[in-house]
């Protein structure tokens, strides 16, 4: 009896080949797992960083700090109620063509010529003087309101 038959040899060869394939596969899995854990760690790190940056952003944008910086570096103050338009009264009014022409005829000069620049003050609000720029450090909305309401002097 032969110790090794061809069949045995083939089986032995197959075992070797499948062993090699298994090794290679396990190698790939190992590699992939490493990559995965690295990616997971980096995703986690990015997420953590985003959280941290968001917290920092919110910290830097808190209203108290923004107000302080705006007072220090900008000539802007928060809008006071006086600066706000009351309803649609201040919006330009739509005028019909006839109205426009009717008015034009009135402002013709003696020679019957229309002026070079049309007077359109009646359809647009008259520009008011620029609001006085207030230094925020010595005057703020509160003071403005106090001035306004001091007209109706404080009873008590």
């Amino acid at each position: 009896m032969k110790l090794i038959k061809p069949r045995t040899f083939i089986i032995f060869a197959l075992v070797c080949i499948s062993g090699a394939i298994l090794l290679r596969t396990s190698q790939n899995v190992q590699d992939a797992e490493d990559r995965l854990s690295i990616l997971q760690a980096s995703v986690e790190r990015e997420q953590e960083q985003i959280r941290m940056l968001r917290a920092e952003w919110e910290g830097l944008n808190n209203p108290a700090r923004l107000e302080k910086l705006a007072n220090e570096f900008l000539d802007l103050v928060p809008p006071s109620p006086d600066q706000m338009a009351a309803g649609e009264v201040l919006l330009p009014r739509m005028v019909s063509q006839e109205e426009l022409h009717a008015d034009e005829s009135q402002i013709h000069d003696e020679q019957g010529f229309a002026p070079a620049v049309q007077n359109i003050s009646y359809i647009a609000p008259i520009p008011k003087a620029k609001p006085q720029i207030l230094k925020p450090s010595d005057k703020d909305i509160g003071d403005i309101i106090n001035e306004v309401s001091s007209e109706s002097a404080g009873a008590q």
Binding site: L3, L23, I38, A55, P63, A64, P79, S149, S152, A155
Partner: protein
């Protein structure tokens, strides 16, 4: 191949000499050696594998690789969820921080290690670190909360005795701004006060929370309250803004406040005056007693009350602060804040009536609120007639500022009871319509009367300083004397103002209360609600208009004349 050939040769020999014991032994020997050779081959392959494939990560270490090797300790622990304001602004968040510690016994070279650590952390001194590393302890903190870059540099030192621990840390980007609402927690992120305490388990389960607070309004309110407090040299103050239609707390301030990152420095600062402080509120209570009067008695505004002389009951005397010493109509009683007139109304309401009405408004019981630190209002025991009279103008009963603003909201919104709430219900359809008749506590007519009266207080009464042109502010001042050693002390006051706007269709209520303000030169020594809190409320209204984009109405708009009809009942200046 040589190996296989030899096996075959041996096999041939074995075939020739059958049944020999020696041959059997040889065959076994061959098999055994074959087995050993196989094992060695496997070892060789594995060694190759280790050196060539798995070694790649180690050959080029990256910060990611280093971090993937760190103990994943933090994963076990749940991250405590964020708290945001109604617009999604972050109020509280949890960040992961890495802390560096050392096991001095494992440190091989303390000198080099200390030198390198000192160069990584500029705030650490070489000497201090060296002393720590030379110690005999098994554990010593080197630096808490270090950055990832610093961690990488420490890893590069390669000292086995330097180790890291990851921990979660609660962070409050808005600082002290919302400190009393949010509260604070301990190092193990357990909430000990405020929302952090009220929703401790919920937050620890990783469920984020959205509050009704708006940080912009919160800031405006805090700024103006703080200003009033400083201007009048007061030690404390409390304030709140409420949406009168649903009781949402848009801002809540208690001063002094604290840094939530380090809360336990000042016991006085962590006391939440808004919910945990019960105060005798003074004349602002006249809103409630007058409403109760209208509910019980359907009388015209012109009804007169005799306020010509103080009321004397037993050893008590009820006086007027702005005494007119004559008969007064209801609008006059309210706008001049006559204690005598209001006490006369209380007599007409009766003890039962007044107490029931206050209870219905939720002023006399501990309030239901998301923050668990709530005070129990103090109610006289037993409740005698004199208590009814004093309670009508806010003395002898104490309640919390938040209950007061809720009570006023319930009256001005048309008479529907609202309760204060701090957690935003984003799904508005879930919210029961506040205008349901089951919520009604006063009639629409009484609500309308009260709104007109409150507008009158600002347009011509004790709170003219609360006026903001175009915004129809209405309200009521309150100046209560504090009890010091069992007696009312007329030097120590609680001055407050509750403002509502726009009065013709109320939406926002603002309450500011200043504790023990001192009269100033520019206020001619006055430190009453009208001088202290009313201007502060006006400034808050002006800021709110800008922040929320609420346009004013024109001077001649009909809304601007809301409540003017009551002026016919007010006698010309006397």
């Amino acid at each position: 191949m040589i190996f296989l050939g030899r096996i075959r040769r041996n096999a041939l020999k074995l075939e020739g000499e059958k049944s020999s014991a020696l041959d059997l032994a040889r065959g076994r020997l061959v098999l055994l050696s074959g087995f050993f050779i196989l094992v060695y081959v496997i070892f060789a392959i594995r060694a190759f594998d280790l050196a060539v494939f798995e070694g790649r990560g180690i050959a080029a270490p990256s910060i990611e690789y280093a971090q993937s090797l760190l103990p994943a300790q933090s994963k076990k622990q749940n991250r405590r969820a964020d708290i945001t304001d109604r617009n999604g602004k972050l109020l509280a968040t949890t960040l992961k921080v890495v802390s560096l510690y050392a096991d001095p016994r494992l440190i091989s070279n303390p000198k080099t290690a200390s030198k390198k650590i000192a160069s990584i952390f500029p705030d650490l001194k070489y000497g201090d670190v060296l002393q720590k590393l030379q110690g005999d302890k098994r554990f010593v903190w080197i630096k808490r909360s270090i950055s990832p870059e610093q961690q990488y540099k420490v890893l590069e030192i390669g000292e086995p005795g330097l180790e890291f621990e990851e921990e979660f840390k609660r962070f409050y980007p808005q600082g002290e701004l919302t400190s009393h609402i949010l509260g604070y927690g301990d190092v193990d992120s357990n909430g000990l006060a405020g929302v952090e305490r009220g929703f401790n388990n919920y937050l620890n389960d990783g469920q984020p929370l959205k509050l009704t607070v708006d940080v912009r309004l919160q800031h405006a309110l805090r700024r103006e309250t703080l200003r009033a407090m400083k201007e009048f040299e007061a030690p404390a103050a409390a304030a709140a803004i409420m949406d009168v239609t649903n009781g949402e707390v848009l801002a809540g301030v208690s001063l002094p406040d604290f840094n939530p990152h380090n809360p336990l420095i000042d016991e006085d600062a962590i006391f939440n005056r808004l919910t945990l402080g019960a105060y005798e509120m003074g004349s602002v209570f006249k809103i409630f007693s007058t409403a109760a009067f209208f509910e019980r008695h359907d009388v015209p505004m012109s009804t007169k009350f005799d306020a010509s002389e103080p009321i004397k009951i037993g050893r008590f005397t009820i006086n007027d602060y702005h005494a007119k010493n004559r008969e007064m109509t209801i609008p006059e009683v309210f706008m001049y804040s006559s204690n005598i007139g209001t006490a006369r109304m209380a007599q007409a309401i009766g003890t039962e009536g007044l107490r029931d009405f206050y209870t219905k408004l939720g002023l006399l019981d501990p309030m239901e609120f998301e923050i668990r630190e709530v005070a129990k209002p103090q109610v006289p025991h037993p409740w005698r007639e004199i208590n009814t009279l004093t309670a009508s103008y806010g003395h002898g009963v104490s309640t919390t500022p938040l209950q007061l603003i809720s009570g006023v909201s319930s009256i001005v919104n048309g008479g529907y009871k609202v309760s204060p709430t701090l957690v935003l219900d984003e799904n508005a359809t879930n919210r029961p319509n506040y205008k349901s008749e089951s919520n009604r506590i006063i009639s629409a007519q009484t609500a309308q009367n009260m709104r007109q009266l409150m507008r009158l207080v600002v347009s011509g009464g004790t709170a003219s300083k609360a006026e903001v042109k175009g915004y129809r502010v209405g309200g009521k001042t309150g100046t209560a004397e504090k009890i010091v050693n069992g007696r009312y002390d007329n030097k120590k006051k609680i001055s407050s103002f509750i403002g509502v706007f726009p009065m013709d269709a109320p939406r926002y209520a603002i309450f500011i209360m200043v504790d023990e303000p001192k009269g100033q030169k520019h206020t001619w020594g006055y430190a009453t609600g009208g001088w202290v809190a009313a201007p502060a409320v006006a400034r808050v209204v002006a800021s709110m208009a800008g922040i929320l984009g609420i346009p004013p109405v024109n001077e001649n708009a009909p809304e601007n004349h809301f409540g003017d009809t009551l002026k016919q009942f007010v006698a010309a200046k006397d």
